[in-house]
């Protein structure tokens, strides 16, 4: 039996700041409803339900199988919502596969205690490479400035709460500079880069995918470098290869570099329940926080650097 005294002796384990994922879930759900109701996305409701359910179920199974202390449903739900935005398929069952891959990758593909890819980014890249029956519709949001503004605000808030806005800002600023510079070089009017920047899908990517604090470098300098790299890659895909979804491909391609960046610029790992921007440069504490409590994944994981 727990006595009042005993309870009082336990120091508060959590920061008074709310979990940023709650805000993120609220933002993403609102945007998804806006997309479905106002912009009339043609994603069937059954696909969205299947995606969310699969993400939660796989997260739960992995939690049980690996004996993790807590079931991190919020992370799984965010992944499912992200996929619901971007993933399109001829058959809703492909969406369940994508959701399973996304969550599965978080537990299966790890390096020094962190998962390598943002789960929804990984699933999108793999599914696009593997199947002709899936696609991403980058134009579906249109480019109404108000929408972009609302999404930037909502996303910015989320980023702020998770204290990792630097990677989003670095990516967006360098991508904007790249677009503007290219248009200046081409002699195009500035309405062209502005139209490209006002793309809703780009805003979703910037504020809800690349900003994932679990898969970005641990130090601010590392994250800014990472944002620059992804922007350059996205530009290359769009304007040298002339393929759609440049940011998604660039993020998938550069994510494996994050362990290297962390090696060169070490810092403490991110914790959802204790949001911190991390050090600007090299970390002062070499002891990473316990990952088990964070996203429910084990510290000793498949694919880690341990012998």
């Amino acid at each position: 039996m727990t006595t009042p005294t005993a309870t009082a002796l336990v120091p508060p384990a959590r920061s008074s700041r709310p979990d940023p994922r709650v805000w993120q879930i609220a933002c993403l759900s609102g945007l998804l409803l806006f997309g479905l109701l106002r912009l009339r996305f043609d994603t069937p409701v059954v696909q969205i339900a299947a995606t969310l359910a699969t993400a939660l179920v796989v997260q739960w199974i992995a939690t049980r199988a690996l004996g993790l202390p807590s079931f991190e449903w919020k992370s799984a739900l965010i992944t499912g919502l992200g996929l619901s935005f971007l993933f399109r398929a001829n058959d809703w069952r492909l969406a369940t596969l994508a959701a399973a891959l996304a969550i599965g990758s978080k537990f299966a593909i790890r390096w020094s205690g962190k998962h390598v890819w943002n789960p929804s980014n990984f699933a999108l890249a793999v599914m696009l490479l593997a199947s002709r029956d899936v696609w991403v519709s980058p134009g579906q949001w249109g480019s109404a400035p108000t929408i972009a503004y609302a999404m930037a605000c909502a996303g910015g808030f989320v980023v702020y709460r998770s204290a990792r806005s630097d990677v989003s800002i670095a990516f967006l600023a360098s991508y904007a500079a790249l677009l503007a510079g290219r248009s200046l070089w081409m002699g195009e009017p500035m309405t062209i880069p502005l139209h490209r920047l006002a793309n809703g899908a780009l805003m979703i990517f910037t504020f809800h995918m690349i900003s994932d604090p679990k898969t970005t470098p641990n130090t601010r300098a590392g994250r800014i470098l990472f944002g620059l790299l992804v922007a350059a890659g996205a530009g290359a895909v769009s304007f040298a290869l002339f393929r759609p979804n440049g940011p998604i491909w660039a993020l998938a391609a550069f994510s494996p570099l994050v362990p290297l960046i962390d090696h060169l610029l070490p810092g403490p790992r991110y914790e959802w329940k204790r949001p911190t921007p991390g050090p600007l440069w090299k970390g002062t504490t070499d002891e990473p926080m316990d990952d088990r409590a964070l996203d429910g994944a084990p510290r000793r994981a498949v694919g880690s650097a341990r012998p």
């Binding site: 912009l39 249109g142 290869l241």
Partner: protein, 458 residues
């Protein structure tokens, strides 16, 4: 019928994925451009048609292209094939006849939207001073009734000077747009009519120009066509692909309203209806959306708005992966000669997915060129509208009263739907629909409790 698409682009303007330029002061009216775009891997075949009906002498076409084209990569197609594809993919009206409420019987009839086509150019001669202006004539061909030049240039001012000296009337502001295409390493495909060749061929209309090339770029340049445009222009894109639906990556795709029941008189006014309905949808979406009007696997249709396209026609439009007719080895056989309204057509187009997109664009809402990608989406979609003819026979049976009440209610719904889709005034719609007298008594307006305990409502 031809007036339909012409009237769709009410504001007259110069247009295309290039632009038309004229010598002298001839007025150019290029009302709606049509582009058939065949794409698989990096291979693209473009067929460009427009409904220009003016003097061929007064017309020229300039299109940015990603590569220098050989003589064999340029072809002149048949307008009939483009018109056929247009009719096949057009929004359609389906008619149903109510059965005798005292018996059961049904009929169905389809009607389709028509089309328009034709294109014209003018003649001039490459200037020997081209090189001194930094303009390189990469190639020069006569194909069918057209004289074609492939130009590259070091800078746009020289190109504009060269074009102007050679009798092309360049719109103000063209230089800047040409410059941005030059920086992208694009060449310019310049075509005009060779009147002698045209006379030899004996054709009075201008046939669509076709070009085949390999490039990772998959899009349509709109910006040249907007330089001197007055108001918005209409562009129809018919994409033929192997895998699935085509959509723009940099603009929102919206489906045309479909499957709505509309009043009977729309059958005689379908062109007006389509125009008003499209314009209403265009404004509702803010003027910056691309409309999906048809997306279908070409091996069947339901209902078919026109005969399915034959293999010869599809090959002619550039569907290079189809076996040549009679070439053997193909899994399916010859042209589909099905009667309209029948599906699936015997031996219809195999392994071809068609997407029809309708873009009404202007510089304010479409600042950049259209960029496309082929999705894996094989879902079928068509712009389909339904009219239901009430039973007008003279019979009496127990069900007749109820039937008449249903018809009255249905007519009210149809009028509201039409008003919502087209923005037309509800009272004028009701007037056009005629009185409701034939369809039973007006609804009982008494409060429900009065008839609940009082006498039965009629």
């Amino acid at each position: 019928m031809t007036a339909l698409l012409g009237a769709l682009s009410a504001p007259p303007a110069h247009s295309f994925c290039g632009f038309y330029v004229a010598r002298g002061d001839a007025k150019l009216f290029n009302k709606a451009s049509k582009v058939v775009m065949v794409r698989d891997g990096d291979r693209t075949v473009l067929t460009m048609a427009s409904d220009y009906q003016g003097d061929p002498k007064e017309f020229a076409l300039v299109v940015p292209v990603p590569t220098v084209l050989d003589r064999g990569q340029i072809h002149v197609g048949e307008p009939a094939a483009v018109d056929h594809l247009d009719a096949y993919t057009a929004p359609r009206l389906v008619e149903y006849f109510d059965p005798d409420p005292c018996r059961i019987m049904a009929m169905e009839e389809d009607r389709a939207m028509p089309n328009a086509a034709g294109m014209a150019l003018k003649s001039a001669r490459p200037d020997a001073r081209a090189r001194s202006l930094g303009v390189t004539i990469e190639a020069r061909y006569t194909v069918g009734e057209y004289d074609i030049l492939i130009l590259s240039a070091r800078e746009s001012a020289g190109l504009v000077t060269w074009l102007t000296k050679n009798g092309y009337r360049m719109p103000r502001g063209a230089e800047r747009v040409l410059s941005s295409y030059l920086r992208q390493g694009m060449r310019f495909f310049v075509a005009r009519v060779n009147l002698k060749e045209q006379a030899k061929l004996g054709t009075t209309y201008l046939r669509p120009l076709q070009m085949a090339f390999e490039s990772p770029k998959f899009g349509l340049p709109l910006r040249l066509g907007m330089v001197n445009a007055r108001g918005a222009q209409d562009l129809f894109v018919y994409a033929l692909t192997r895998n699935g639906r085509v959509e723009p990556t940099n603009y929102r795709t919206v489906r045309l309203p479909s499957d709505a029941e509309v009043p009977e008189f729309v059958k005689d006014d379908f062109a007006d209806f389509y125009r008003a309905m499209f314009t209403t949808a265009y404004h509702r979406e803010g003027g910056d959306a691309v409309f999906l009007e048809y997306a279908w696997d070409m091996s069947w249709c339901d209902p078919c708005a026109a005969d399915p396209l034959s293999r010869e026609e599809l090959r002619g439009l550039g569907v290079f992966w189809l076996e040549a007719p009679g070439g053997g080895g193909g899994g399916t056989t010859g042209p589909g000669g099905a009667a309209p309204g029948i599906f699936p057509p015997p031996g219809g187009a195999q392994n071809v997915f068609v997407t029809r997109l309708h873009v009404r664009y202007d510089a304010a809402h479409f600042p950049e060129d259209l960029v496309f990608h082929e999705t894996g989406d094989r879902g079928n979609f068509q712009g389909r509208f339904v009219i239901r003819h009430p039973w007008k026979g003279q019979r009496d049976c127990p069900g007749m009263d109820r039937y008449r009440t249903e018809v009255r209610e249905r007519r009210a719904r149809e009028a509201e739907t039409l008003a919502r889709l087209t923005g037309w005034d509800l009272s004028s719609i009701s007037r056009k629909m005629g009185g409701d007298d034939a369809w039973g008594p007006p609804p009982d307006k008494r409060p429900w409790w009065e008839w609940m305990w009082g006498s039965e409502p009629r």
